[in-house]
């Protein structure tokens, strides 16, 4: 299945501006299913990691207060065209997703 993570990177000199959007419900655990009335279990990304050529350039720890379909952006230096940026998340239910993109 295709990854549910999208990444856009802009290279400005050796600085990479990274924007990433991922599909995830980010359930708080306090919402009720409107049809059944049952509480929807807490389900959220816990750790999100960005690695450039294998080196961690950003690690994000998330609570349920991160919006559904999370968006993050940040910048790192020392980037160059041809680098491989990997994004990976794991959630509290043990699910994960990842994507790789080549800079340039």
């Amino acid at each position: 299945m295709a990854s549910k993570i999208k990444v856009k990177v802009k290279l400005k000199g050796d600085v990479a501006e990274v924007k990433s959007l991922m599909l995830h419900p980010m359930e708080t655990g306090s919402r009720k299913d409107p049809d059944t009335g049952a509480t929807i279990p807490v389900h959220h990304i816990t750790e999100l990691t960005f690695l450039n050529n294998g080196e961690t350039v950003m690690a994000v720890h998330c609570s349920t207060a991160v919006s559904r379909d999370p968006f993050f952006s940040f910048s790192f230096s020392g980037a160059k065209a041809g680098d491989t940026l990997a994004v990976r998340w794991v959630d509290n239910q043990g699910e994960s997703d990842s994507v790789e993109t080549v800079l340039g």
Partner: protein
């Protein structure tokens, strides 16, 4: 706003199975206790060992005055402080105040943005940890509830 047409299905390649990251590469473990804390001070103490942060004008916290939608509040933090190790966002009136924490390795710029949920009007605080201590900037974000989406 006019976005240019773009072809999808290009550029990024999914490698879900191939990409296994050793845990050691993740800067720190998920701070469960800090995220479970129900008060801002408690969360700060759990995360940093203290709830005292020095207000700093070197931190710029960008958040809307009135959130258009409490479920999606854009927040960005930028600072000129040096040797930043982490940037955390704390929403005082949220049931669990610690919303998100960015671990910043050397070489990564202290310039982050994300979208968060807010249950009600609250102070939003950016807490920046550097090698010389804890610094903060805060801003009130108003959250209005109700209506039909315009």
């Amino acid at each position: 706003m006019q976005l240019s047409r773009r072809l999808f299905l290009q550029g990024s390649v999914a490698l879900a199975a191939l990409l296994a990251i050793p845990r050691a590469l993740v800067a720190a473990a998920w701070p469960e206790k800090a995220f479970a804390s129900k008060a801002a001070a408690e969360a700060m103490t759990a995360l940093f060992g203290t709830d005292q942060a020095t207000p700093s004008s070197a931190i710029s916290l960008d958040a809307p005055e009135i959130a258009e939608n409490g479920a999606v509040v854009p927040i960005s933090v930028e600072t000129t402080l040096e040797n930043v190790q982490s940037v955390s966002i704390v929403v005082e009136k949220n049931p669990r105040p610690l919303a998100v924490s960015f671990e910043i390795p050397p070489g990564t710029l202290p310039n982050v943005a994300c979208r968060i949920k807010m249950g009600q009007t609250s102070q939003v605080m950016a807490v920046v940890k550097t090698d010389s201590g804890l610094f903060s900037a805060a801003k009130e974000v108003k959250v209005t509830i109700g209506g039909c989406g315009g």
